[in-house]
Point group: C2
Chain length 193, copies 2
């Protein structure tokens, strides 16, 4: 199959560090030209499903601007300039919870929007997490750290209590890995970091 | 916990039907004001994991502008004006594959971006799918319809072959429902449509 070709790009909205919008002129495989294809540039981010040695999942109960009420959430945040995804994941876990972890597994990296980009989410499982410090988060939202059992986590996913798409995806990636990782290709050497 | 308050909104980019950007002035619970909070308006969309009576999963191999090469994808697309999510899901399944389905289950609706909105994804499982027509899709991308076994689907998820975040999320929601639905709260009357 043939990729679409980007003929030109132009910034049409230079917002703050959280958003830039470009207009792309795109050529389809059959030669047709689309002159007004919006392309969204937002920061890449990490989501971390962290599990203590006692099989407790570190989650937050928090508010977010895009939802009414509160939601459960995994640890996560935007990558900072110069960081790779694993560095960002370790920083966010430490800042937000005061935990470090023994074993890190990459669960995949996914563009958010098939048509317009909108950043890439990098997902990690952190096993053997243990507390080393007080949390030191600069997040603007109120949040409360919770320790959930695996059954509580599965029930929460089933009840849509993780209300934001990347958060639900991160939890489901981790659960799928924990259930299938040992028998299927999830677990290969390139994924264990 | 206290929600953030939207003090004012202003359109700062009126693109085509696929993108509008607003600037929101937001008040935090502690009284601080953020004057430049970008808010992204993109169309809501549906993703459908459709399974035939022979336990085959309907998927596409396709190109998309945001990825290199090809990706596996579930059925899906933007909602049209005046449609509810289930109507959009049934339309997309019929247009893209020529299939209808006996049993529809809502797997959840999730805003894409916790901070900026960027549309809501509505996810469905369609069981007992059967062919009634030729596909009649107006999608711009090349795509090939595939029928995958459950093991092939699980292996594809584990190998990150569903490369876009909502696509991976949709497949994982469906697999979690199929594994846990009968024992846990996924399966309650409000979810079966």
């Amino acid at each position: 199959m043939i990729q679409w070709k980007t003929l030109s790009k132009k910034v049409i909205l230079q917002g703050n560090q959280f958003l830039t919008v470009e207009n792309h002129t795109v050529e389809l495989p059959d030669g047709r030209i689309i002159p007004d294809w919006p392309w969204i540039i937002t920061p890449d981010f990490v989501n971390i499903v962290a599990i203590t040695g006692e099989e407790q999942f570190l989650c937050f109960r928090q508010t977010k601007y895009a939802i009414q009420g509160t939601s459960l959430a995994p640890v996560g945040g935007y990558m900072e300039s110069g960081e790779n995804p694993l560095e960002a994941a370790k920083r966010e876990l430490l800042e937000e919870t005061g935990y470090e972890a023994d074993t890190w597994t990459a669960l995949g990296s996914f563009p958010v929007d098939a048509n317009r980009g909108a950043g890439v989410g990098h997902f990690f499982l952190a096993q053997g997490a243990y507390r080393v410090a007080e949390p030191n988060s600069d997040d603007l939202e109120e949040q409360t750290l919770l320790l959930l059992s695996r059954k509580e986590l599965e029930d929460a996913i089933a009840a849509s209590e993780f209300k934001i798409l990347p958060w639900a995806a991160g939890i489901l990636l981790a659960l799928h890995f924990l259930e299938k990782g040992n028998e299927r290709s999830f677990e290969n050497s390139s994924r264990l970091i």
